[in-house]
Amino acid sequence: MQQWLDDLIAGTAWLQALPTGLVYTIGILVACKLILLFSSLLAGEVVWLERRVSGRMQARIGPNRVGPQGLLQFLADGVKLLSKEDVIPATADRPVFVLAPILVYLGAFAAFCVIPFGYGLVAADMNVGLFLVLAITSIEVVGVIMAGWASNSKWAVLGAMREVAQMISYELPLGLSALAIALLAGTLNLTDIALQQEGWLWNWYVFRGPFAFAAFFLFFTAALASLKRAPFDLPEAESELVAGFHTEYTGFRFAIFFLAEYSAMILFSMLAAVLFLGGWSPGFPVDLTGPAARWIGFGILFAKTAFLLFVMIWVRWSLPRFRIDKVMYLCYKVLLPLSVVCVLGLSLQVLLGEVLWGDQSAFGRWLMGLGVHGGIR
């Protein structure tokens, strides 16, 4: 981002006349606006995708009236929600009630600033990018507790309670499986992680050995749980808790919760694509770092993200919901030990690979090749 702005200033005469700080500020604001637009418009489209896919799965049609194939349905929904009465319950804790959806949305949205949409297409190319994503998305929990508490409704409190228990628990396997990739990559910078996976398909981190392969599925499952997607949608289990923590929210405040959920879905799908599925690498050696080619890279990353989003929707409409004790069981007795094993296994793989072959992934590829060979035989 800074590099790009510097280039812009160097190349444009009238920008050089302005103070550099001002140009930076404006640039950052514009980038924020772009990300905001991207994430919220795309979230709207993901809602449409979800409704169409679920329609297909359920032998019905889904929205197809507003715009081509119903693509603009989210605009119609947004207008409807904006025109609704904004109800704040009389017993609610007003300031907290109002602040909660903003905080929830902030958590989902702010993390986009470190996600590389393509080479160089990143608002802040930080060397702690991965860490920042995991940290910022945790803010969402606070917003949810606030929503549940401030509503002063029992269903909302119960929903918030479930949410907190679930999200805080699933941070552990989520963080550990992401850490496994950080071990392989040796960096937390998401652009670097993506760049390391360029080249052929087997350079993708998901194919760098059995432990990395397992880590992908652990990451995806834990992400589903911390996104409150079915089968982990207990915090808003509509048949049990009415609507969980946002029971008392109406109109656009409700829409913001909705947008935040879908933004977070996009965020985690993108993160999984960058960490495990090679980022913008198409699976064969091609240079996508050029000023024009990076937009092709963006398209490839977007396709991978869309696929992961589709899987999330697919899972949601296929499975019943877990019970809270099963969710905790799955987290602490299955996912957590497995992700620890993954981290240990990957450390061993990196160590052995470096010592014996001088390539950290060689040992893992050898193991994986053995597995594939065995599978074919």
């Binding site: 509509e238 019943p320 919901r321 877990f322 809270i324 099963k326």
Partner: protein
């Protein structure tokens, strides 16, 4: 905010009991919970919350209101409240002529209207000593079993919805709509038919309708394994239902539970086989009942679901046999314009999709009944949650209520 949690709960036990919410002085008496305060460790005290689950709650299948007292997510005590949809069905029957009562019977259990009509007609016929043509009996069995199939696949799908699986719910609607169309073509109504009449049935079954029926039966048979893939054989579904809400044999008998819920508790009892009415004794069918050979504990939610799925298969068998043996002849007996049964009383029972529906009817020789009293299976089935629901999680309570497959219209009548 008060430090105790939600303000209502901070008022202590009974903070939001119905008296406070509704202002009615008399009602809290019905909510007698034993006081219980849990001490967790030495310093941390958890408080119990009183929830009003319903009458407008997605999982209560209508207007059931359950007042539950929870400790966190654990239900410590609960009390179902009924009466929100009372429509005086029995009382109306005492003031209108016998012929005119039948449409009201449809509305008791609106998912089993054909079976309700069947029972009401049987009661009146036995009271008046009316002989029903044989073909009409076969027609009645066919429509009653189609109704049972529709009701059971609906129950199976809705149970998925209760557990958070939306897809099977809409999948079963595809077959259900087909079945509703079928009954619509026969009777002119989608849910409330008024097809079974005193002394027979309204219309004869046409050959075209019978073809339509056969296609429907094939469709259900083909789709049933699909529903099972989505629910019965699903690991999460089994986790959610196996061993949950166990109504054992003793409890089921004590509370008067009937229907699939009774059979799931390993009580081999089905009115169609054990007190045969109509022409059910001519058909060969099994009565599925819960046992330890399938997943889960005898009498748990899973087995109740399983019994329903198996009963759909048996109903398909019965309809096919009835189709094969369908005799020729009239479908409606000749009856006087005003029916005046001789003095007397009858008690008739029938196996409805939800359990044993029974009617007690007294005649004093007038053209209206002197007294009518119905026994709705949903009423006694829902009562059992008072005992079984204690100590479960809220999610399990939803699974329990869903697995009993109640219709609130029949609870209150």
């Amino acid at each position: 905010m008060s430090p105790g949690g939600v303000r209502g709960a901070a008022q202590g036990p009974g903070g939001l009991v119905p008296g406070g919410l509704y202002g009615g002085g008399g009602e809290p008496a019905a909510v007698e919970f034993h006081e219980r305060q849990e001490l967790v460790g030495r310093d941390l005290r958890t408080e119990e919350m009183v929830f009003n689950m319903g009458p407008q709650h997605p999982a209560t299948h209508g207007v059931l209101r359950v007042v539950i007292r929870t400790d966190g997510e654990v239900v410590r005590a609960l009390q179902p409240h009924v009466g929100n949809i009372h429509r005086c069905c029995e009382k109306i029957g005492e003031s209108v002529p016998y012929y005119q009562w039948l449409p009201y019977v449809d509305r008791m259990d609106y998912l089993g209207a054909m079976c309700n009509e069947h029972l009401a007609c049987m009661a009146i016929e036995r009271l008046a000593g009316i002989e029903v043509p044989e073909r009409a009996e076969y027609c009645r069995v066919i429509v009653a079993e189609v109704q049972r199939i529709l009701s059971h696949i609906f129950a199976v799908g809705v149970y998925g919805l209760d557990l958070g699986a939306f897809t099977p719910f809409l999948h079963q609607f595809r077959e259900r709509e087909r079945g509703l169309d079928l009954l619509d073509h026969l009777s002119g109504g989608r849910l409330l038919y008024h097809y079974v009449r005193i002394g027979g049935v309204k219309r004869d079954l046409s050959p075209e309708w019978l073809d339509e029926l056969r296609a429907f039966l094939d469709a259900v048979e083909r789709r049933l394994p699909e529903y099972n893939t989505l629910l019965l054989h699903n690991r999460i579904f089994q986790d959610r239902t196996a061993g949950v809400g166990v109504i054992d044999r003793d409890t089921a008998l004590r509370w008067g539970v009937t229907g699939p819920s009774l059979r799931a508790a390993d009580v081999d009892w089905d009115c169609r086989r054990d007190v045969p009415y109509s022409v059910y004794d001519r058909f060969d069918f099994e009565v599925p009942h819960g046992h330890s050979g399938i997943a889960g504990v005898v009498g748990d939610c899973f087995q109740r679901h399983w019994v329903r799925v198996r009963e759909v298969e048996e109903s398909l068998k019965i309809v096919r046999q009835a189709l094969a043996g369908l005799p020729e002849g009239p479908v409606l007996a000749n009856l006087p314009a005003s029916l005046r049964p001789p003095e007397g009383e009858v008690y008739v029972r029938a196996e409805n999709p939800r359990g044993e529906l029974a009617a007690y009817m007294v005649s004093r020789g007038k053209d209206t009944a002197y007294r009518i009293r119905c026994r709705g299976p949903s009423f006694s089935n829902i009562a059992v949650i008072t005992e079984v629901g204690e100590g479960t999680l809220i999610a399990d309570l939803v699974a329990l209520i869903g697995s009993l497959d109640i219709v609130l219209g029949e609870v209150d009548r």
